[in-house]
Symmetry: C2
């Protein structure tokens, strides 16, 4: 087979996800085994996803990877774990059209090229590693004809980045922490697909930050080592919340879903604050957004919007329906208009039709927004242009897919190098 010139490619697209019951703390750092179950919503890959092309060729002399066009090292344990676990499970591949035949045993001598691209800024703190590792594992599994189900693949993706295991499915997903020491039962299952509750609208506020942030890997290690509250959360609080959240999702019970989501986000950040030294992911803008949502929910008598924040200041806001989402957008645009030099078209991205729903067509409409009645007390009406970088409007979405259209591939089908 060596000396042959063929290149076999697979391109896949995988969504990112946002946890509504948070993962924070590992019981095993190498295998990435969590201290509690977590639950997430998969976000529509049309707005937030990773695309990865993997290639194999007898001409490749080593494994290589390019992330967003730049070659990166594969030396880290996380990539190696994923590659090793997938290679172990490779089976015979035959592509009659191209005349390619790879036997199960050939895979240990073949090298791969990987190119990965996010359709959103990597630095924005939008769970790029979750979508990235899920996509890597999914694409490699397709390339190598791995016959495991998504659950098994999720447990491999987990070894790249914990939350990646939840990106193997669309809709609503639970990462079961598992009990086995080898991590074999720590995997994701789908609770419901994205069609189950398709009223939900998700608005992400990408918040400008002046602080350097603690990585979630080192942050959760420090929390496990120093927070006296973390163990109590993981052992006593989260198990009950997971049951309640599953029930809320099953019944599309938005008030319960919202109150659990908000409470669990706040408790995760409470654990960060209880860490030594303390970790602050939310900033004054995050706090202001929470305050806007809390006051509005209270004024309406029943929750319209849930908020949740990951390891950064960005707000992920889950609205009950499009009406609530457009009301929310009007409130947010009132307090956080675009900064100087930013136009509305680049300020609200993703599903831009939400602007029409909100009746906001241009900057004049933004300027003439009225202060939300529940907050119209003079003090709260200060505006903070520039404190939000942009908004993304999206919804719950589907799981990983293979892209058959070769024009979508990130690697050249002849050379196996980035296009």
């Amino acid at each position: 087979m060596v000396g042959q010139k063929w290149v076999r490619l697979v391109t896949a697209q995988t969504p990112t996800n946002i946890a509504v019951i948070k993962y924070w703390g590992k019981r095993d750092e190498t295998l990435i085994l969590p201290v509690n179950d977590s639950i997430s919503v998969t976000l529509d890959p049309n707005h937030l996803c990773t695309t990865t092309t993997v290639a194999v060729s007898p001409a490749f002399d080593r494994d290589r990877m390019w992330l967003n066009g730049k070659e990166i090292s594969l030396v880290g344990g996380r990539y190696q774990n994923c590659l090793r676990e997938i290679r172990k499970r490779a089976t015979d591949v035959e592509d009659k059209e191209k005349g390619i035949k790879i036997a199960k045993n050939d895979w240990e001598n073949l090298h791969v090229h990987i190119a990965s691209h996010n359709n959103f800024p990597t630095a924005a703190g939008l769970a790029s590693s979750a979508a990235g590792f899920a996509c890597l594992v999914f694409a490699l599994a397709k390339l190598m004809n791995v016959r495991e189900d998504e659950g098994k693949l999720s447990s491999i993706a987990r070894q790249g980045s914990g939350s990646a295991c939840r990106s193997l499915y669309g809709g609503f997903v639970k990462w079961i922490m598992g009990n086995n020491e080898d991590g074999s039962d720590s995997l994701a299952v789908q609770l419901a697909d994205e069609k189950h509750w398709d009223d939900l609208v998700i608005l992400i506020a990408v918040v400008s930050s002046r602080q350097k942030e603690t990585s979630s890997t080192s942050g959760m290690r420090e929390s496990v080592e120093t927070s006296l509250l973390l163990k109590h959360r993981a052992q006593e609080i989260v198990p009950k919340r997971v049951v309640q959240m599953e029930e809320a999702i099953k019944n599309k019970d938005f008030p319960s879903f919202a109150s659990l989501t908000c409470a669990d986000s706040n408790q995760f950040h409470a654990i960060c604050l209880d860490t030594s030294p303390p970790i602050f992911y939310m900033n004054d803008t995050s706090h202001k957004i929470i305050s806007i949502v809390e006051k509005w929910n209270r004024a309406e008598g029943t929750p319209q919007v849930a908020y949740t924040f990951d390891a950064g200041p960005n707000a992920v806001l889950i609205a009950h329906d499009r009406k609530a989402a457009s009301e929310l957008l009007k409130r947010l645009l009132f307090y956080f208009p675009p900064g100087a030099g930013t136009d509305l078209n680049s300020y609200v991205i993703g599903d831009k039709s939400i602007l029409q729903d909100a009746g906001v067509h241009d900057m004049k409409d933004v300027e003439s927004l009225s202060p939300p009645p529940e907050l119209n007390d003079g003090i709260s009406n200060q505006k903070y242009p520039g404190d939000v970088t942009y908004f993304i409007c999206t919804r719950p979405g589907h799981g990983p897919v293979v892209l058959c259209d070769e024009s979508k591939a990130l690697l050249d089908p002849e050379t196996g190098l980035p296009k």
Copy 2:
């Protein structure tokens, strides 16, 4: 006695205090009984104190009170509780010089005038109610010749404002939560007087805030009702920390004192965040100050400064000694220079000699401060003029005292009305 014209006055001065093991949560709202013990440092009344004059006269037709020159209502339960408890314990008073004689039984028919004044801005979130109720109870007890010890008085002051009980002593004070349902054993004791550990220097950063804050009374009620972490903190964590903190104070063990102080402040704010709706007392400036202190402590290998934050964004920074305090002030002035139009003289108040120790004599010296070496990474060197309103330099101080100098009285000795 009615128809007589005499006025009897007592003027007292009482310090404020800062908790290093925090009080957050009541088990009884009316008696103000806490869910855990707390420990505080009394601050030097020369820099932060309440002065209260109480007066009695047969000519007064009702109880009245003036706070910072403005008459306020005494109808609230908190004032009534303190007045009732002190009146109950009043004894015979004889002032031969003025020819005044009040029998124990007369007190129930006599009214009092109260005037109280803080030597620091009430709105600045510097525990004005603690000093205020302590001073009210202490002054009334002197006026009415109450023969109870400070412990008993502290349990009366507690019924005005929980943390007030800790302002009945100087130095280091513990509020024992007690077990009795009637609150009789929920009182303060002195752990050590202010001379025990007189190296400590305290620097308070009064932080500008753009948010309306939740009062500590309603905040702690909401935490007790909604935080799933509070009970665990109160029952499992604080009891151990109190023992460790007493040991650290006894041994003047600054590293332990600092690490317990910081951890407990952070945990209190974690509980606030775990409350529904979440309570944010610290803001981005508070976070920045914590980050400056944490990085410096880490760079030095052993803590130089402890930080603690109450129900607001102000930082209370406790430095190991004057050298550490002056190093700290240089760091803080580097990042937080006075805003436009603020001069150094009104920017660092209290014990201004710390400026000499820091070698900072004028604004030119502030401008030429070097970035702290441990933070000199380019990113951290942004300055935030105006984010701190002013600094107060102080130290641990003594407990309540009676001011014999009649010129210090806030009420006119003839009329019993504010001067």
